[in-house]
Amino acid sequence: MLTPYSGLLRVLPLLLLALTATVSSEHTSNWAVLVSTSRFWFNYRHLANVLSLYRTVKRLGIPDSQIILMLPDDMACNPRNAFPGTVYSNADRAVDLYGDNIEVDYRGYEVTVENFIRLLTDRLDEDVPRSKRLGSDAGSNVLVYMTGHGGDQFLKFQDSEEIGAWDLADAFGQMWEKKRYHELLFMIDTCQANTMYTHFYSPNIIATGSSELDQSSYSHHADNDVGVAVIDRWTYYVLEFLETQVTSANSKLTLGDLFDSYDESKIHSQPGVRWDLFPGGEQEGRLRTVADFFGNVQNVEVENVNATEPGSLQEDLIEIARLVNKWRARDQAYLARQNESLVSKDASAHEESSPHYTVRTKVGPAKMSEESTWQKRLVGVSVLGACAAVWLTGSILGGTSA
């Protein structure tokens, strides 16, 4: 009976390795909600902000089906646009953000506070198409990016209405209650942006904004041919970090690195970060990689095991145990059949044959054969066990935070 333990001991380092590797990627999907809230030609930059972010999350692997893009105005086709059909976020005009591969989910007057909150909380009619729904679940990491004109605890939508900090906090609260996110990164670039996340109360949220109370957020630079400012400062420097440092979805750079890259002398306002809703606070939050929110989950194996909800991991373990029993029974039946056919074989053949063979032949006569079966199956069981342990610890960690 000692062999399973020794086997376990053998895989323990492996298991630990797997643990550390998977601790930060316990989510199963990534969603991004990218919102520009302002209309009008002179707010070109807000659209460019959002489209830059859109391009980045797409580059890092989030598919269009998991990005909700809200654009209240169409700068590309505005008659004032000197470069019809394009949107640029830099005066060098190297990258056309509008390109030929863009899916706008909410456009024009569809971008309203009501639609935004309905989208987050999934209070949408049945006939609303999938492209307009946020299909996130309890395993989804959600990135919410907003930009527009705001003030103390509000953000203006389309010149006609505004969303308050409490509205947003309640929307996220409902999302949590409805198990619509696992972890959420909230980013906002507007004047007095940091006031927008002051009322958040639901857990697992990291929030960051471009400017403090009574501070304006400034545009970065204007394009003299387009004739308008093309990007905001904070977004510009966030993007600079994402573009130059986070070159692939496998990047190990953390949110800590991203937030450390904020340079007030460049941004011209004081960006803020809120960690206190995150389990483990700043220490834990800083370890989340940028790709956890901006990238897509790539680890398919992990995804399969985690297909059920964290709360039902117990069921998973029971299921695994049941499977093990089933396999064992099947094995026994199989071996029994084998033994029947091998009865005539010489006993000396046992030593010459492969371990597998030994096992098979040993099973037949006595109870000892059981030990040999365990050793044979150890690799499989330990792998499963390791996985189970990983997800058990994961669920404990996640559970406590919940």
């Binding site: 009008f40 002179f42 008659p79 004032r80 000197a82």
Partner: protein, 635 residues
Amino acid sequence: MALKSAIRKVRSNPHFLFVHLPHILSFICIVAGVVWLLLLPLNDYSRQTYISENALLPGQVHAYFSGSEQHIFRGYKKELEGVLEGQTAEGQEAWNDAFTPAVSDKIQSILKATGLKVATQNYEYTSSGITHQGQNVYAIIQAPRGDATEAIVLVAAWKTVEDELNLNGVTLALTLARYFKRWSLWSKDIIFLFPPDSKAGTQAWIDAYHDMQPAFVQPLPLKSGALQGGLVIEYPFDHRFESLHILYDGVNGQLPNLDLFNTAISITGGQMGIGTNLQEMWDHDDSYEMRLQTIMRGMVKQGFGYATGPHSSFMPYHIDAITLQTKGEGWQDEMALGRTVESLCRSLNNLLEHLHQSFFFYLLMQTNRFVSIGTYLPSAMLIAGNFTIMAIALWLRTGYYPGSQQASKPTEEQVTTTTTTTEKHDDKQAPPAKADASNNIIERQLALPLTLVVSLHLLGLIPLYIFNNIPHQYYPTATYTSILANFILPLLLSATLSHTLTPHPQQYHLIKSFSLLILGLFLSTLATLNFSLSFMVGLLCAPLSFIHRINPQTTSRPLRYILSTLALALLNVLSPPVVLLAVCWYFGADVETVLTQAAFGWDVWGVWTQVVVWCVWWPAWVAGCALVGFSLFSS
């Protein structure tokens, strides 16, 4: 306590309360109104200009109008000069620079060659026996990607405001038309208008654009959307210019949105590095005197309400427009002006809605400093208020204080005073009937005062009609006749009335009260629309508050005659035609020209200044003179 006792003292002295206090208050109002205006140029009361409309984004675009466009400019200029030479008689030194059909055809052909839709409009105005006729040429660039719901107008009149040939301006507009046509970024149509003069042409065009044209003005065959802004270019000389003079005053003192002016300043000064002037203040050193002078010049133009340039005609239709005039000798060429216009058009092109964010009522004292209506309005309101205060005081006085009779018997007055005050004190408790019975409330006889004041206001229509409809050569005669008539009419009026009807002394007060009440109400209303006119008329009428019929019972005959003659002399100096002559003399203008211009303003531009003069100021003035006249004739 001291204050309380002071108030009690005032209340126990009805003569002070009803006679002296209104005078003091009125006088304080006038002085405060004038001082208020004088404070405006100070830093504490004025503000730095700023751009309120986010959409304008002035100077954020690079202006590409340069280089090869200059060759086009020279080419067009040559073509126009060729036409001018062709229409000039042999051996004549100066060109015949009239806007002939040949010029019109040339402009049309250039515009057509550029690929624009071109149309013409004939108009003919007759004012003071002078016929103003001409043909407007205009062309429309249709926004390639915009809807045709909005448009910007670019005006280059063949003759400038000073009646000089605006050859460079017209050529520049033609070059810009060709240049703008090639851009695809216009969200609004751009209309290029070439009127033959700076007075009537634009007015005819803008009236017809809104289907408001009189019978003798042709309707427009070609139209676009709602006009969002207008720019007028004037470049009447061949050498390079130094700075741009921006005209912004509209008809009847209406002003374009301050954002348009600010945008122009921001682009010319900030982006193009061209100096700017306003109100012909060529060396503005930003001192108090210069600021005040700028305000005053602006107020004079606003008060007179005439059109200062082609842009003025746009204002009644709520279209913001300015005129850019090149001034001085410097190193800025037509390309610099072209780039300025290009950048301004790009800014206007950015507009999403009509200019509305910034002020429509302001006084500019420097290109970057202004006072808004909230700050300056009290000035004119105080002056208008002085008449209302006096009118209300006189009304109360006629009802509650017999005035002069008691004034002659001081002892009796003292007695009535005490009774009046005690009664007033008891008013709250005592039923009103009892108070009425015991108090010496006097019945007012309103028929004569009301009839007189109303008929005087109606009488004002006669000079209004005369001064706008007689042929221009009779204007000086009409002015001198009106001065004489103004001298005789009040005396005649007072002599007849005092001998036929022998009015009660109370009625004199009532005449003054009604006259001042109408004046005060009218001026305070006018102050919100045309501050300057209200202020000027208010100041000129200020003596009317303090002029009374001199009571023959209290003043001896010789003194009465001397005083009333002096008062009449003062009033006659301040009569509307005399003021007109004085103004003409001060500005070195010809009375005939000024009145012809005024009649033209009335007939073509729709100037309302004459109505204020003849139907508000003049009746009040006649009533004041008649009151003084009564003191001569009453016994």
